[in-house]
């Protein structure tokens, strides 16, 4: 149960750049060390096993300079400052001595595995790659980890002083990077205790010992208060080095012409004119010929592999751009590409509508949905097109290949993921093995209560490669080791991510090109056009709703159907894309991974984002997932499936209120009822399909943590009491009741509330619509319950930004596809929100969970949950509802600028 370890190997210290004599502290806080091994199998459906050790803190002798390695991707959420400040707070580090260093992609040395049972508030968040920064979970997953780690270091220093002074450790206190002995008045700085700290008696502190010295809330310096924001000054002076700003001796810049259609291949190219441009040095295909032996290219089902493309490599960006314009390329669409080349988003909208007009796959039901007896029937269809994330920094990566190794600098949300896939692409030429290695990764995430399935799955993979199961995993692990040895990734700070930079296709492009030019650093620079035309788009979705209202105006029957192009189709190939030999394995892997189900349907992750977790109390419910084929790459965008599900559901609630002649807010509260914590029994009674996702609970359990039995609430079950609270709060702050019926003609309030990424947000928008149908957003009020607020200022910033991001998408966002290629090019035809379109006034309120709610959670508080994504999903429905209240049309599709004028 060691939780802190000390590193003294000299070479290692040198590699870290902290110099000899420094004390480097790592963390061994793993789920196993906290839970004990016996519970591993019980928990493995909600937590992954994680990696063996954690983040490093280096303390330099004499100077006392402290380096904190930050392992989460920084893309504007301020997380690297926030997590480091949590650690420094518990450690009692002198912040003026702290510098941050972004950790390389390195699961072994820098990954902090999670989840953590939370002393004081034990709950766990499902684990994935430790550095993969998505799902708004950095603080949810690592708040306690960083506290324990920091407190553990302080405890080591206390023990060091106890050793030095021959006193009892209980007489000592750590404060201001010093250990104090009150009785004798002695004190010593951490940097003067390093020799003793390296020697203090083994074993290292246990979890229980660390929990015992955790600070109390009133002792926190930064946590829950104003926190340092270390990168701000470099950002406003232009000194911050983003990946595009990296200079390497002899570096060349590449611009790529890509096949506009997913899964298309390169047929031929004529480089003559491009090579004639001064400064252009090379013109070459990005993917090696017959990549994976079968010419696999980027597209549907092919994961993060780049689209087929030809690179123009030049001495500077302008020359590369000029050369690219002169390049002539012909594409071979082949059988898969040809199918995608017919993709037309307008026609597809009709297909989605037809698919949601008939029965789909039931994912939740209760009672018998019957509209015949209803006093009134309300129905509506909703549509949300593909959307692109468009971070301000277009994708970019710098790679150099030397001595059979790759060194890469890139803005990435998934450093380990990028490392893994770059390595796989460079080192595994066999297409069947490629697919098997991917499947083995996924098989480890198969539900543990389906051990039999997992066993059969592994056996079938082993049989395919004609080896036994043990050898299969040994081969896989050997490959992973080689990947870690050969591919080094330095994550740079991201100029925005929003889900786009979870996908490392652009990093793979740089790695492929670098291999062709050993010793020459190659920078692959995407333009805005590249970014808009070759994203991993948010799913296009069609939904249909039907409700039968009873005599009191509330629904007695509710039917919802949702069809969306699941991002699983990008990562789990549709059957026809997969060699027959691995088709069965893939079907199993897909279904095993997050209950992904079969192709044409959505995964549990997407279904749990506003579909199966529909919060209204209705006697008869039927929720279905309707089929949707995929013809371009889909991925993640801030708020993901909540984007379309919350738009449909929260707008339809307002439509029902309108049909019932009721006030929108009062009706919404009645729909939710008195509020409840969803328990397993409820989910079973309502036949909710998803059980193994972190968005839904399994039974609460008691587990030994640090040798004591502690209650743990795995996952964060939907809690509609918290949804009610944010609605009531935002109604109060916006003056909803007082303004009712008093607003002038052409002005109205709209409300929407939604739970996502474990947090609860309610938003009220005040809009004006003039007689020329021109929209002004006068004011916005939002209430957020994200559990404990660790960094109030950055949480506010995320709320402000998230609301603006949602406004941008709702009013202006649309990606269309013709002949398989994306139509839009740049910010002129894919417009985004500008300063004059933001609400004139915006107020954000933290709604603390009520004492009654807090009592439901084990421990003494509700732990922190997501803030990056939750504000985005409520914007479109709140705006649509406000427009109706202002006398405008009911808008049931995005973007709204097709119906009203937005200047």
């Amino acid at each position: 149960m060691s939780t802190i370890f000390r590193v003294t190997r000299r070479k290692f210290l040198r590699d870290l750049g902290v110099g000899g004599g420094a004390l480097v502290l790592g963390s061994y806080i793993t789920p196993e060390s906290l839970f004990g091994s016996s519970l591993k199998s019980k928990l493995s459906n909600i937590i992954s096993t994680g990696f063996p050790l954690g983040a490093f803190v280096a303390i330099k002798p004499l100077s006392g300079d402290i380096t904190i390695f930050t392992h989460r991707a920084e893309m504007g959420q301020g997380i690297r400052s926030s997590l480091a400040a949590v650690l420094a707070d518990e450690m009692e580090a002198d912040w003026s001595r702290v510098t941050l260093r972004q950790a390389d992609a390195d699961a072994v040395n820098f990954g902090v595995p999670y989840p953590f049972p939370i002393p004081g508030a034990p709950a766990v968040v499902k684990g994935e790659d430790a550095q993969f920064t998505d799902s708004s979970r950095s603080m949810a997953a690592y708040f306690v980890a960083m506290r324990l780690f920091g407190a553990g270091i302080r405890l080591v220093m206390m023990r060091a002083a106890a050793l030095k002074w021959g006193v009892n450790v209980t007489e000592l206190e750590g404060r201001d990077q010093q250990i104090w002995h009150k009785a004798s008045g002695r004190s010593a700085r951490y940097e003067h205790l390093l020799l003793e700290a390296a020697k203090v008696a083994k074993p290292d502190p246990t979890t229980d010992e660390i929990i015992a010295v955790l600070k109390t809330k009133d002792q926190w310096r930064y946590i829950g208060k104003k926190m340092p924001f270390v990168d701000a000054e470099d950002m406003v002076t232009g000194k911050l080095v983003y990946a595009a700003d990296i200079e390497r001796p002899g570096m060349l810049t590449a611009m790529v012409v890509r096949c506009p259609v997913a899964n298309g291949a390169l047929k031929s190219f004529d480089a003559t004119a491009a090579l004639a441009v001064p400064g252009v040095r090379f013109v070459e295909p990005v993917l090696p010929p017959n990549f994976l032996g079968n010419g696999t290219t980027g597209g549907v089902g092919n994961n993060f592999i780049p689209h087929a493309g030809v690179a123009v490599i030049a001495e500077n960006t302008w020359a590369a751009l000029q050369g690219r314009r002169k390049l002539k390329v012909e594409w071979d669409l082949g059988s898969l590409g040809a199918k995608n080349a017919d993709y037309d988003s307008d026609a597809f909208r009709g297909e989605l509508k037809a698919n949601t007009a008939k029965s789909g796959k039931p994912v939740r039901w209760k009672g018998d949905v019957d509209f015949a007896a209803a006093a009134k029937v309300v129905d509506a269809d909703y549509y949300v097109p593909h959307l692109a994330q468009t971070p301000m920094e277009p994708p970019v990566a710098v790679a150099v290949y030397e001595n059979d190794k790759w060194e890469i600098w890139a803005p990435t949300q998934g450093p380990e993921l990028a490392q893994h896939y770059v390595g796989l692409a460079m080192l595994e030429p066999d297409p069947i093995k490629w697919l098997v290695w991917q499947a083995t990764e996924l098989s480890e995430l198969v539900r543990a209560d389906e051990v039999k399935t997992q066993k059969a799955f592994n056996e079938s993979m082993a049989a395919l490669l004609k080896v036994d199961e043990k050898t299969l995993f040994q081969m896989r692990d050997d490959l992973k080791k080689r990947v870690r040895d050969k591919v080094r990734i330095h994550p740079t700070l991201l100029g925005g991510g929003f889900g786009r930079k979870s996908n490392p296709d652009y990093i793979m492009e740089a790695a492929f090109l670098a291999r062709n030019h050993p010793g020459v650093p190659i920078r692959v620079q995407w333009t805005r056009e590249d970014d808009i035309k070759f994203s991993f788009y948010n799913a296009v979705s069609g939904q249909s709703f039907k409700a039968g209202l009873g005599a009191n105006g509330l629904p007695t029957s509710f039917l919802q159907r949702s069809a969306f192009t699941s991002f699983f189709a990008t990562f789990f190939p549709p059957p026809e894309y997969v060699p027959e030999a691995v088709r069965d394995i893939y079907a199993k892997a897909r279904d095993g991974f997050h209950n992904g189900g079969e192709y044409l349907y959505g995964s549990a992750i997407e279904r749990a984002q506003g579909l199966e977790d529909m919060p209204y109390v209705i006697d008869n419910i039927r929720i279905e997932n309707s089929p949707a084929p995929s013809h371009i790459r889909c991925g993640w965008m801030r708020s993901v499936a909540n984007m379309y599900h919350a738009f449909g559901l929260c707008s339809f609630a307002d439509e029902m209120a309108g049909a019932a002649g009721r006030d929108s807010k009062d009706y919404l509260l009645d729909l939710i009822g008195p509020g409840r914590l969803f328990k397993d029994a409820d989910l079973k009674a309502e036949h909710v399909m998803t059980f193994d996702n972190n968005l839904f609970p399994v039974d609460r359990m008691t587990v030994p943590i640090g040798g004591k039995e502690r209650e743990v609430l795995p996952g964060y079950p939907p809690d509609t009491r918290r949804l009610r609270s944010v609605i009531e709060r935002v109604a109060k702050e916006s003056g909803w009741d007082q303004k009712k019926g008093k607003l002038p003609k052409g002005r109205g309030l709209g409300i929407a509330a939604h739970r996502s990424f474990l947090s609860y947000v309610a938003l009220v928008l005040d809009v004006s619509l003039n007689d020329r149908n021109e929209l002004t957003i006068n004011e916005a009020w939002a209430a957020l319950d994200c559990g404990f607020v660790v960094n109030p200022d950055r949480v506010l910033a995320q709320m402000e930004g998230g609301i603006n991001y949602g406004l941008s998408l709702a009013m202006l966002g649309e990606i269309t596809v013709k002949n398989g290629g994306v139509v839009q090019n740049n910010f002129d035809d894919y417009p985004v929100l500008r300063i004059h379109q933001t609400p004139k006034k915006m107020s954000i309120y933290f709604e603390d969970p009520s004492p009654e709610v807090v009592r439901t959670y084990p421990g003494d508080g509700v732990p922190p949950t997501g803030v990056g994504e939750p504000p985005t999903a409520v914007v479109a429905p709140a705006l649509a509802n406000a427009i109706v209240a202002a006398g405008g049309p009911r808008i049931r599709s995005i973007p709204f600028n097709k119906f009203i004028t937005i200047h």
Partner: protein
């Protein structure tokens, strides 16, 4: 290739480049000043904003031949220590999120304040609408400009 004399941040640089190269790439790739960012290449986003004789301009759409007629200021030349009132206000109010667009925002804002020392919200919206921030920091940008103008504490 032709030789151009570019006066950037008070220093004259002689550069031998393609005459069609936009100022942005001359600044970034040739002079190595990386604070000016590439966001769209078509004067839609403002990430590449610099001052030409004190007036905000999108460097991705200015030819070097035109630029050499003016005194060019980039974010590196706005102040040498982050002490420009805009930079200070930006930090004080925690405006940046990812930070990528902020050099451009600050170059536009500082040019606005020079021309209009006490802008209203509408003045700000008008001047700043050419600068996109995908993180959505607009409310704080407005506040920071008022603060830099000395109109807010």
């Amino acid at each position: 290739m032709s030789v151009f004399q570019l006066n950037v941040n008070g220093k004259v640089h002689s550069v031998d480049i393609d005459g069609n190269m936009p100022l942005l790439w001359a600044i970034r790739d040739v002079l190595g000043l990386k604070g000016t960012k590439f966001g769209c290449g078509v004067a839609q986003c403002g990430a590449c904003t610099v001052h030409l004789d004190g007036v905000a301009a999108r460097s991705c759409s200015v030819d070097v031949g035109v630029a050499q007629l003016s005194k060019i200021t980039t974010i590196e030349g706005l102040s040498y220590d982050g002490s420009h009132p805009c930079q200070k206000a930006w930090v004080d109010l925690g405006v940046p999120q990812c930070g990528f667009c902020q050099p451009g925002q600050i170059m536009t804002a500082s040019a606005l304040l020079k021309a209009n020392p006490h802008p209203t919200d509408d003045d700000i919206d008008h001047a700043m609408r050419g600068n996109i921030c995908r993180c959505g920091t607009y409310p704080r940008i407005r506040e920071a400009i008022h603060k830099a103008a000395g109109d807010r504490t």
